[in-house]
Symmetry: C2
Subunit: 203 residues, 2 copies
């Protein structure tokens, strides 16, 4: 009968999140995770028997993290413009907190897509449909004119928000930005992206 300390378990889980986000399932090393968590590898295997077990917890919490927030957002029942702005803010918040999340998802989608496709929160997902409805309403009120599907709009929003996080080293290097300059860039870009999206669906 094992005795567990929830704080240690949490330390391991957050270290695992970072390492898995950066390196994917196969690329991650349990040694790096233990080291980053500041515990011995013995402990890691004590709390999570296998690497796969630990990975699965990270996957669930990472993916669920975003989708849960997104779902709440749509419950607010706002109009198209407000919803877009809120979802951009949300994506930026999530990615500021977990900058490696997009890379991670993209990785897993490539290595073993079924892991994500079978996740209950993904199966239940209805965001594109919600956007279809909001787009229809906005078209009827004359607020926008563009003929774009909810699915495409969501892809656009996600692409525009996530791409700088996925290519951060390039953005940082090219202009030899410091960490602070990088944050300024990302912050400025948030405004750019919002304007770009709204203009993008006119006409």
């Amino acid at each position: 009968m094992p005795k567990l300390n929830p704080q240690t378990k949490e330390k391991i889980l957050s270290a695992a999140e970072i390492v898995f986000h950066e390196n994917g399932l196969k690329g991650a090393r349990t040694t790096s995770i233990a080291q980053k968590a500041g515990v011995s590898r013995t402990m890691l295997h004590y709390y999570y028997r296998t690497k796969e077990e630990l990975f699965y917890e990270v996957l669930e919490s990472s993916f669920g993290f975003f989708l849960n927030k997104a779902r709440k957002l749509f419950q607010a029942e706002e109009g198209l413009k407000a919803t877009i702005e809120q979802i951009v803010d949300l994506l930026y918040d999530v990615l500021t907190e977990k900058p490696g999340l997009s890379t991670f998802i993209v990785n897993i989608l490539s290595e073993s897509p079924e892991l994500i496709i079978n996740l209950p929160p993904f199966q239940e997902e209805q965001i594109p449909t919600r956007f279809d409805k909001l787009l229809d309403e906005a078209r009827q009120s004359g607020e926008i004119q563009a003929d774009i599907s909810g699915e495409n709009l969501l892809l656009n929003i996600y692409g525009l928000c996530a791409v700088p996080y996925m290519v951060t080293p390039l953005i940082k290097f090219k202009e030899s930005r410091t960490e602070a300059e990088m944050n300024t860039f990302l912050n400025d870009r948030k405004r750019v992206v919002k304007a770009f999206i709204w203009n993008g669906i006119q006409y």
Copy 2:
């Protein structure tokens, strides 16, 4: 003194490209590469002594592939609108041919960014600056009004084009699309993206 068959070398290289694109450096298995190439693992090591050596060739050819085409495009010296449309076409062409390329780049940028940052074709890259110039001209002629940097515009274009390829399994699954339906979707989306970008930089 080893005797080599260029066709076999090529077979190994293209198989390696697919496997590395899907799984990254650490995730790829030399066994999968040899199998996909239809040769023995002995041959793989005969033509490329180590996995790293093979990986580096894939990285250079993959990244160079896109950048070389992009550079030619800017030499044509067209206006902003034509350049945007051509670069979208180019990205779609490249990604249709190598659908895993974006995932691969994003992967490497996460695992070991220096590998990409130190690539000569990347070091010499001037695309954002070219866009700055085209944007300036277009603003002066009244063609566009938006205050956006070349760097942000390039990020937008890249994000909009690459994201469907990076999340293909999600797009395919949600609407249970066949391969053919997926191609139709991507083709339709190309038009959507072009309109979205052009509208996006108005005002």
